[in-house]
C-alpha cells in the first residue's frame, strides 16, 4: 500500500466534490493499493492542516456551518511550499486574465516536486507551455482531465486509450450553458434573452454570462486540447471565437426546416482553432441537447470516436480529478 499525501487548494463546489468523492471511494482506493491522505485543505478564508490526514467529513461539515474549512491562516502557496506532500489538487476558481492564484500554485507545486491534478482552466489556457515545461523539469506528473468537458473523458481518452493514433481533428460542444440556451430556444421558439434568463434562474448560467455565451469558456477548453493533443503553443486569445448572443429563434426554425440544429461547435485541427455556431444535421452524434457536452475525435486508425457526457457539476468534475489521481498512483 502506497501512502499518498495530498493537499486540496480551493474548497468551493469542485474542491468539496473531491472531498466527497474521496470519502465515498476510500475503500476502493485502498483495494487498488492507494492510501490517500489529505493533509491540508485551503479555501479563501482559512485552512485546515493535519499531517496525519484530515477527517474529510468533519471538514465538509465545518465548511457548511462556518463557511470556511478551518481557522488556520496559512495560504495555499505556503502549504505547497512548506508542508511535505506528494500531490496538490488545484481547484481554485479560474482566472483567464492572468492565470491568477491557480497559476502560482501550480508553478510552486512543480518547484517543490509535487504532482498536480487540476480542474482550473485559466492557467492552462494562458500558460500551457510554461506549466508543461515546469512539470517536466521537476519530474512531476501534471494531469488536467477535469479542465475540459467535466466528466466526459477526452484528454485521457486520446492520450491513453487511443494511443498510437494520429489525431486529425476534434470537433464538439464544450460549453453546457450555451448548449442549454440553444436547445431551449429551439424547444420553446423563444428569444436568446428569455432562455438566458431561464438558465440564470436555474443556476446553469452565471449572473454575468459573458464568459460562457461569448464562447470564451469554450475557447479556453479548446486551446487546452490544441496544446495538449496537437502540441500547439496557443493561448485562448489565438482562438477565432463567435458566441451565441446573435442567434435568433427564427434562425433555429429555418435550420430545423432544413434538417439541422444550431450548436456552438469547437473545432481544432492543424492550423485551425475555432469556436462558432454551426449547423449540425439532425440525428448527427454531435446533435446532443440540454447541458450535455460532446466531442468527436477523428483518428487515422480508429476512425471517428464520439463521446458525450456531463460537462459540469461538482461530483462530475471530481470524477475526472479522481480518475487522474488513480492513473498517476495505480501500480
Amino acid at each position: 500500500m502506497e501512502t499518498i499525501r495530498a493537499s486540496i487548494i480551493g474548497f468551493g463546489a469542485v474542491g468539496q466534490g473531491v472531498a466527497k468523492v474521496l470519502l465515498q471511494k476510500a475503500n476502493y482506493l485502498k483495494d487498488i493499493g492507494i492510501d490517500l491522505r489529505v493533509i491540508a485543505i485551503v479555501d479563501s478564508k482559512g485552512a485546515d492542516i493535519d499531517t496525519e490526514g484530515i477527517d474529510l467529513s468533519a471538514a465538509l461539515s465545518r465548511k457548511r456551518t462556518d463557511g470556511r474549512v478551518g481557522p488556520n491562516n496559512i495560504t495555499g502557496l505556503e502549504v505547497i511550499r512548506t508542508i511535505d506532500h506528494d500531490l496538490m489538487i488545484e481547484t481554485t476558481p479560474t482566472n483567464i486574465e492572468t492565470g491568477g492564484v491557480g497559476l502560482e500554485n501550480m508553478l510552486a507545486a512543480f518547484e517543490n516536486g509535487r504532482d498536480v491534478v487540476t480542474s482550473n482552466k485559466g492557467p492552462l489556457a494562458l500558460k500551457y507551455r510554461e506549466l508543461a515545461e515546469a512539470s517536466r523539469i521537476s519530474g512531476s506528473t501534471f494531469r488536467f482531465e477535469a479542465t475540459v468537458g467535466g466528466a466526459m473523458p477526452i484528454i485521457n481518452l486520446i492520450t491513453d486509450v487511443l494511443a498510437g493514433n494520429n489525431i486529425i481533428s476534434i470537433e464538439g460542444i464544450l460549453n453546457g450553458t450555451c448548449n442549454y440556451i440553444l436547445t431551449r430556444m429551439m424547444d420553446e421558439r423563444a428569444s436568446y434573452e428569455q432562455m438566458l434568463a431561464e438558465a440564470q434562474e436555474l443556476g446553469i448560467a452565471e449572473t454575468d454570462p459573458t464568459y460562457d455565451v461569448e464562447g470564451i469558456d469554450a475557447a479556453c477548453k479548446l486551446v487546452i486540447l490544441a496544446n495538449a493533443i496537437f502540441g500547439m503553443d496557443a493561448t485562448y486569445k489565438d482562438v477565432e471565437v463567435t458566441g451565441i448572443t446573435k442567434i435568433t429563434p427564427e434562425s433555429l426554425i429555418l435550420a430545423e426546416d432544413g434538417g439541422y440544429v444550431i450548436k456552438l461547435i469547437c473545432e481544432v485541427k492543424k492550423d485551425l482553432i475555432r469556436v462558432a455556431p454551426k449547423l449540425v444535421p439532425n440525428g448527427h452524434p454531435l446533435a446532443v441537447g440540454g447541458t450535455l457536452n460532446v466531442a468527436s475525435v477523428q483518428t487515422d486508425l480508429a476512425g471517428t470516436v464520439t463521446i458525450t457526457g456531463r460537462g459540469a457539476g461538482s461530483i462530475e468534475t471530481a470524477s475526472a480529478i479522481l480518475s487522474d489521481i488513480i492513473s498517476i498512483y495505480r501500480k
Binding site: 481533428s169 470537433e171 463567435t242 446573435k246 442567434i247 435568433t248 427564427e250 434562425s251 426554425i253 429555418l254 435550420a255 426546416d257 432544413g258 439541422y260 444550431i262 461547435i265 473545432e267 462558432a276 455556431p277 454551426k278 449547423l279 449540425v280 444535421p281 448527427h284 452524434p285 454531435l286 468527436s296 477523428q298 476512425g303 471517428t304 464520439t306
Partner: protein
Amino acid sequence: MRVSMDIELKDVPGQLLLALNPISELKGNLISVVHHHENHTPRGLIPVQVVFDIKPENLEDVISRLEDSGVEVARVGEERFLEHIAVILIGHIVHTDIQDTIASIDRTGYAEVVDLSLSMPCIDNPSSAYLKIDAVGKKEIKDAISVLKNVASKKDLVVIEPIETEFI
C-alpha cells in the same frame, strides 16, 4: 462534364451491357445506374437513369452509338452543380442589400444561390435567412462560402455553416 441520361431498354437479358458499353469505350466514368423496373413505358421498355463523367467532345458519339445499337435515349442533361450546401445568415439582411449579397455568389460563375427562405420577425430586429448554394465542385463550395463570409462581415451578418465532418 457530368451527364445525366435517361435511356429506355428492352426487357430482355443483355440490354444493360449494350447500353453501358459505349460509355466505357469512350472513356466515360460511370457514377450511377438506376433501373425503374416498376415504371414500364407504354411501349414496354424499362426506363434507366445513367449518370457518368465524360469529355464533352465524346458525348455526341456516346449518343449515336447508343442509338445505333437500338437503345432509346429519352433525355440528356448536364449536371452542372454537383455540390450543395446550406447556410444560415443572421442580421439586417434585407437592409444591407440582399440582392447584392446573392449576386456576390452568383457572380462567381461557379456557384449560385438556388433557394432562400427569409424570416423577418419585426422591423429593426435582425432577420434570419436560410440559403441553399449549389456549386460545380467541393472546392468551389468552399470558395463560395468564403466569398459570402467576406460580404457578410462587411454587412455585420453572422454566417452559420454546416459542420465539416460527415459522421462516418
